[in-house]
Amino acid sequence: MSKFRLYLEENNRSPVTQLWREFKRQHSAMVGLVLFISFFVISLLAPFITPHDPYLQVDDLLLLPPSWSAAGLVQYPFGTDDLGRDLFSRLIKGTSYTFGFALLTVAGAMLMGLLLGALAGMSKGVKSSVFNHVLDLALTIPSLLLAIIIVAILGPGLMNTTWAIMLALLPQFVHGIRNAIDEELQQDYVIAYRLDGANDWHVLSRLVIPNIWEKLTIMAAMGISTAILDIAALGFLGFGAQAPLSEWGAMISDSLDLIYLAPSSVAIPGLLIFTAVLSVNLVGDGLKTAILKRRQN
């Protein structure tokens, strides 16, 4: 903050443009965004861009080392696994499972959270109090335990663990959204709008939602990083994606018994999980800073 600002810039841009200007200034956040977008695109296009069939087992090429070692083949950049499947293609396909499913999970949890959070935020008295208490319980069950219970009832599988993670994310979303709505409802312009004759729905859709969407994006970013880590962890434990699916966590546990022979098949999927989570966190942190700066200006 310089004390002498002689030329005050006229700042009449829309909030989104202002946000983008602040976001663009942070290099780390931009790197995160580029990574995030590329993961997103890969997860969408995964079935079309794999160089080999990720499930095709080539008997002649079992445990091929990565292409940078002398024995590797350039057609198989990361080598093959013990069944002769191309690791590179499996990793690309795995993006849709680990990253794509994390996005879907958070989108689902966000929608439900918005609905329940709005109900909780707009209601008062006993209804809101009961709601809070139920949420308190849901917040206390660790996500892995919740997943274990759901897997015990429904059986293992990527879809079932997705539900579990959605349920595990939901309470914090509802909590956050409820608090944000609560804060928003205290504003004077809400009272003014109500005096103009607006009902709850008008207030919610015209004033509250447009004003809390920034908080929603930050919540979503934190949710996505949790979801990726959880999906990978559950895949690693064998509760999530089942055998042929090339979910990154499941790939690590698959190649765990080959750790002496092919350490890269453990290292690379883990590195991808780490990069994906890092990109989401970079974007989330960048957004947080950008929003803070925009508010200050």
Binding site: H133, L137, S143, L144, I148, I153, L229
Partner: protein, 338 residues
């Protein structure tokens, strides 16, 4: 404060009621025979079945069954484990201290490392040290814990051979079981090789603790840094500086006290994440705690064990949550209103 305590206790009763309802309904939701799921017995003949049905009040309505369930839980009759056919409560009593020990040391480590680093990062947000601490925190925050654990095992146990990769203590040392907390047990034990055993147990403890502490430490760094930056902008800090207090005095008397207050609450909020991570850490390091036991239970379709695990772990998390909330309210009068 009394009013606040009453409200909290009432809330806790409500939460426990909901938890017991959830745990009760699990035996009906799990696949398989209901009598087996409740009792944990594998082989039940006809006469025994009749006896169990009347013991569990299964011929009566759901409310009677629920009350019978509550009574059983209160009396410590938690059923048997499918896998070992041993009483569940006994098994949990043996396993829980190992998990608590690991989690407690990790939490302690995260305080010792996280809080000072967070403060340093807040003081020098723009120079190299501050930036590298923030970057390190972001990296630690993004690491998948099971992969991180594997990497450390690969480096320190397999490649360098410095540290053991599994278990709590070497098989050479026979330590009698007292409390279940291994370090305490070793110090209590009346054996010749106490020092060696302690050394060995600490070696076993080091890697799991570091792995488990990674996430809480980074959360702590980020949280303390943000709280500190926030507090440092406040007017009372400027006032304190203006009246001539030195930087250290301001930091200690006004900065830390206000910035570290929300940290107490953060412990409660992060505790359920910590337990999830502890379960994963236990699996990777073959740590004989309740988390590994629960994950084994699902592989073995050991439904009574899952139910008991839910009860114990959730009770633990709820208790820690309540405790931190009450402590927070004790130190911060503003929080008593909610």
């Amino acid at each position: 404060m009394t009013r606040y305590l009453f409200r909290r206790l009432f809330l806790m009763a409500f939460v426990f009621l909901a938890l017991s309802l959830l745990a009760f309904s699990l035996s009906y939701l799990f696949p398989g025979d209901i009598v087996q799921n409740i009792s944990g017995l594998r082989q039940i003949d006809e006469a025994q079945r009749q006896q169990l049905v009347s013991y569990y009040q299964l011929e009566h309505n759901v409310l009677a069954q629920y009350l019978a369930f509550l009574q059983r839980i209160a009396h410590g009759d938690w059923g048997l484990s499918f896998a070992s056919q041993q009483p569940l409560l006994q098994e949990i009593k043996l396993l829980l201290p190992a998990t608590l020990e690991l989690a407690a040391y990790a939490l302690l480590l995260s305080f010792i490392v996280g809080i000072p680093l967070g403060i340093i990062a807040a003081f020098k947000p723009h120079n190299l040290i501050g930036k590298s601490i923030s970057a390190l925190a972001l990296v630690g925050y993004s690491l998948p814990i099971f992969w991180w654990g594997l990497l450390l095992i690969m480096l320190f146990s397999l490649a360098l051979g410095w540290l053991p990769s599994a278990g709590r203590i070497g098989v050479l040392y026979e330590i009698p079981h007292h409390s279940g907390f291994i370090l305490y047990d070793i110090l209590q034990a009346d054996v010749k090789y106490r020092i060696e055993a302690l050394h060995n147990a600490l070696q076993h403890l080091l890697l799991p603790t570091v792995v488990l502490a990674t996430f809480p430490t980074t959360v702590m760094i980020r949280f303390v840094r943000d709280a500190m930056l926030n507090v440092w902008e406040q007017n009372y800090i400027k006032t304190a500086r203006a009246k001539g207090l030195s930087r250290g005095q301001v930091l200690y008397r006004h900065g830390l006290r206000n910035a570290l207050l929300p940290v107490i609450r953060q412990i409660g909020l992060q505790f359920s994440t910590l337990i999830t991570l502890a379960m994963l850490t236990e699996v990777i390091f073959s740590w004989p705690g309740i988390g590994r036991w629960l994950i084994d239970s699902i592989y073995q379709r050991n439904y009574p064990a899952i139910q008991a695990g839910l009860l114990v772990i959730s009770t633990l998390v709820i208790a820690v949550n309540m405790l931190t909330e009450i402590l927070h309210a004790l130190f911060n009068p503003l929080a008593r209103r909610g």
